[in-house]
């Protein structure tokens, strides 16, 4: 197996760019990634591109060739779709392609354009990640699905809205210095508790925003990095993916995410590490309860104990295991088809020491990215390590 390195990362500012086309957003991210990598874009051998709802948001299918043009690469290009894990699976396939020796340079990432839709349109677009016949027709929205999980969690393990509000407050605080974040504003626990309900028990500040944005990574083989004298100090040492029953109602436990356990187990095994070795993580906190479920699935907390992690300071910036130092989906924003790539971009910078929050993790060597689709019917986990 060939060692896979992250040669460069690129993001757009996450936020509201209703006038910007998807092709322009991805072009910006890709341009930054190639510049960060110091890699000639002509060397790209594949483009793996994540996008979820472009057919609805931009009336644009078949986006991969369009994005190859926008990025200035001429190579096989494929769009990957796994709802909010679209970029995660795009990156994973890029990692596997380089690890297998099939390519030395792959451009991977994703884009989502969402704010050009009204709230109803965006709500409908996100809802199609659920089972249309048995969930969406019964009124399940994306926040509603996670609300069903939150109440099930409270019933099984205890916990409160206040515990969840600590997750929101933590991630907003982490986003303050992040120049790519949508929200660079503090939210107190009290403000989060007092925000209006979206799908009870979840309120507005339990939810990530609607976001436009793109992410891009230049992944290369260690050999290519050495031959071209690249500064590519972060390696992707593990990748894993899990799949669960599509509809939440069909899961044995409504308050657990076994697809993420499967993805984490595979990624940890590939990297030869365990959860105790992890120094920091970016997890898929599309809703505050999702961060709780994620850290339990990743083995950072026992089932039922993840709910207290933010409140107790375990996952805060200065805690034992900082989670979502970027601000997470909650405050950094969630352009769904780009998120999985952006998590790895953030972790790469945090490990390299050139992220505004790197000061919180000066000795970190191992990081984990957790990207989920739907109510975690899809999950992708990557392990990143400082290689040199």
């Amino acid at each position: 197996m060939t060692e896979v390195r992250v040669a460069g990362v690129g993001l757009t500012r996450f936020g509201s760019h209703p006038e910007r086309t998807g092709r322009d957003l991805f072009a910006e991210a890709a341009d930054r990634a190639f510049a960060d990598a110091g890699v000639d874009r002509d060397d790209a051998e594949e483009l793996n591109y994540g996008n979820f709802m472009g057919a609805l948001a931009e009336h644009q299918g078949h986006q991969a060739p369009l994005m190859a043009e926008a990025a200035g690469v001429r190579c096989p290009a494929t769009r990957y779709e796994s709802a909010c894990a679209s970029a995660g699976v795009a990156v994973r396939e890029a990692v596997r392609t380089v690890a297998a020796g099939d390519a030395d340079v792959v451009l991977a990432g994703g884009m989502e354009r969402m704010t050009n839709l009204d709230t109803g349109g965006a709500t409908e677009g996100l809802a199609i990640a659920a089972d249309d016949l048995f969930e969406v027709r019964a009124g399940v929205t994306f926040p509603g699905a996670y609300a069903l999980m939150a109440r099930a969690y409270f019933e099984a393990h205890g916990g409160s809205r206040e515990d969840l509000a600590h997750v929101a407050a933590k991630n907003h605080e982490n986003a303050l210095p992040n120049e790519y974040a949508q929200f660079r504003s503090e939210v107190s626990v009290e403000e989060a508790l007092d925000s209006p309900p979206v799908a009870e028990p979840l309120h507005l500040f339990d939810a990530c925003p609607i976001t436009d944005g793109a992410s891009a990574l230049v992944l290369v083989s260690a050999e290519y990095a050495a031959e071209n004298d690249l500064d590519a100090s972060v390696a992707v040492t593990g990748t894993g993916q899990g799949t669960d029953r599509m509809a939440l109602a069909d899961r044995a436990d409504l308050a657990a995410t076994p697809a993420a356990v499967d993805a984490a187990t595979a990624a940890y095994d590939a990297a030869g590490i365990g959860p105790a070795d992890v120094d920091l993580a970016e997890v898929h906190d599309c809703f505050t309860i999702a961060e709780v479920l994620a850290i339990e699935a990743l083995g950072f907390a026992e089932p039922g104990e993840g709910i207290a992690a933010a409140r107790d300071g375990y996952t805060t910036a200065d805690g034992d295991l900082p989670v979502n130092l970027s601000g997470g989906l909650k405050a950094k924003g969630h352009p769904v088809g780009a998120t999985g790539g952006s998590q790895i971009a953030e972790l790469t910078r945090l490990l390299r020491g050139d992220h505004p929050n790197s000061e919180h993790v000066p000795d970190a060597e191992v990081a984990v990215a957790h990207n989920a689709g739907g109510t975690v019917a899809s999950a992708v986990v990557h392990v990143l390590e400082v290689a040199e």
């Binding site: 048995f134 027709r137 009124g139 009870e200 109602a249």
Partner: protein, 146 residues
């Protein structure tokens, strides 16, 4: 079954298997598909999603289900724009769970907007009702007198 098409969406007009299942639920003859191992699932199915068995039989749903979780939805999708706020719940009925919208005990029109009619553990019966917004058919739960 043209209700989805009339809603302006791109959903197909008919969904064989699902539509017949909804017809049966409306006639109080709801069923689950059950494999020889006892795993329940909902149609259309060719194999059991848990074990792959292809020998699936239609078994009547019990009259009473138990609410396992629920949410009060305030921000709806367009198909539910006139329904919000509304309560969506997940309830166990024998070998399967159903997801449905909670309606009050008395009458078809009464919508439980506060989630006061049920709690986790409440007994409910399942039937078919209509969305306020567009008349589309939906699974509904009604709390049972206990």
């Amino acid at each position: 079954m043209t209700d989805e098409a009339e809603s302006g969406g791109s959903a197909p007009a008919a969904n064989a298997g699902y539509d017949e299942w909804l017809d049966a639920l409306a006639a109080e003859e709801g069923y689950a598909l059950v494999c020889p191992e006892g795993h329940g699932s909902l149609p259309p199915r060719r194999v059991c999603p848990e074990c792959g068995a292809s020998d699936l039989s239609e078994e009547p749903l019990p009259a009473e289900g138990t609410v396992e979780t629920y949410t009060v939805v305030h921000v709806p999708s367009p198909r539910f724009s006139d329904d919000a706020p509304y309560v969506t719940a997940v309830a166990q009925f024998g070998p399967v769970r159903l997801t449905g919208v909670v309606r009050e005990v008395d009458g078809d029109g009464g919508v439980d907007v506060d989630g006061d009619a049920i709690e986790v553990g409440s007994a409910v019966e399942a039937g078919v009702g209509e969305r306020e917004t567009d008349g589309g058919r939906i699974v509904v739960f009604r709390p049972m007198e206990t």
